[in-house]
Symmetry: C2
Subunit: 309 residues, 2 copies
Amino acid sequence: MSIAIICPNRDVSDWVVGLQRLDPALQVEVWPDIRHPEQVEFALCWNHPSGVLRRFPNLRCVSSLGAGVAHLLEDPSCPPGVPLVRLVDDALKQSMAEYVMHGVLDCSRGFARYRHQQMRAEWTVHQGPWNAELNIGVMGYGELGRYVAKKLADFGFTVAGWSRTPKPADTIPVLSGHDRLGDFLAKTNILVCLLPLTPATQGILNVKTFGHLPRGAFLINVARGGHLVDDDLLEALDTNQLSGALLDVFSEEPLPGNHPFWSHSRITITPHIASLTNPFSAVRQVVENYHRAMAGQQLRNVVDRDRGY
Amino acid sequence: MSIAIICPNRDVSDWVVGLQRLDPALQVEVWPDIRHPEQVEFALCWNHPSGVLRRFPNLRCVSSLGAGVAHLLEDPSCPPGVPLVRLVDDALKQSMAEYVMHGVLDCSRGFARYRHQQMRAEWTVHQGPWNAELNIGVMGYGELGRYVAKKLADFGFTVAGWSRTPKPADTIPVLSGHDRLGDFLAKTNILVCLLPLTPATQGILNVKTFGHLPRGAFLINVARGGHLVDDDLLEALDTNQLSGALLDVFSEEPLPGNHPFWSHSRITITPHIASLTNPFSAVRQVVENYHRAMAGQQLRNVVDRDRGY
């Protein structure tokens, strides 16, 4: 009996350590170095090579390494009779909240300025900007957007939300619908994009949207690269309509080495790391489902293949 | 009738704007350009030149520009019959919490690494460190330390405190006394110093203290420069006992241009800006006390000159 981790191009050593720390009796093998395919009863997959699951005749459970399961549903080698489960990781929301909190503070307290001063051994105190006058706008108010907005508000920031469809009442004001977007943007000094990527939101971070923001606003995109019109961001920075941007996602990833974002002095780039699954918290679910699968018990977070999640 | 702002070597323009925005009828003058000393009835002081208050014969109130009043109590020109008030600014605590939150996230999420990668247009995802294994230790558990610890814990971090004297029970574990310092340090991955500077805490951030921390711990000093033994920090970084440090305070400020901290790759320096009084929130107290002083009413936040605060 063993668990196979099938995640090409990803360092999974923390997953191996985390699994074996939680249950030292576990046999864990990492694809492609799997010595006994017939002993693999549990497969933990992310961007696995399509068809690879055929090599494991004795699977009793296939688990996604994340919340998404599209990669498994699209693979005909994922055996229809074997239960498919996914990770439901609250740490993902927290990871996103940490990233956005850091980005908001880095902007609002002007830390980039002090980093540049340090290079010149320069000691200059800058007053403000003062957060009492700072409004954060969270675009996209699903589970993730609501969590991030609440964390920012709890910490002391003034936060508002916007979503395409109406949301239940909340302590944070949330405007909804396309006709309220302008009102929302007009009061937003730091815009955080957490929208889902759909035909309706593709390219929504464009010159017209930026034009509704107060002059000197700051953009944080942690949703998908497809939300942003790259050239419109560069133009908004050139005209000082935007003062800067923090981007974690890009239309093409990895971001090509010759893309103008890399060297722009007012764009900060991170390589899609805002929200990473934390192996040390997520392994608990894996180990629990492994033991349930071995014991023939009902599994947690089973995917309904017809609904698709 | 006028308010005189007496704060040498400090840009007080936000204070002037804030006061006049709140009460457009106010006459505000900024030392040393005070045309009518006899009209000054309210003095707002920070690091004022000793003796200067003798030039204002009609003072009805002297206010510190901050929470501290030592500079006023030590000045014999501060007229004994005139009430002395100070600012009690919750925004100071929030400003400190913001600074520490940013520093903790910058360390725990490894953002410095991504800033360096951006300079090389390098796209590499680093896993971890993961916060589930991260303990933050707040040394100094007065009003400020407690506030910062609570904000970090509310956000989701694991936090413990240490203070020299026992503190009332709290949801956050707080060890106290010198004989528990080692236990506290042994579990601390990010050490935040918020101690008062006294003979007992002078030089407390030294090689022995660092030696109790888990290898690779990170230091944030936002208390006073006198807490830190500079050479001991450099040694602890050289031996990798500490992985890095964020310093806002120094034994000599401004930090001299030739100090080795400036160019150390694992030391981040800010020019004593962790906790700045926010003029736009603090002016409300100043204007209220000004009007109370003019109307002969009881003032807010009056200093007891015998107690010293």
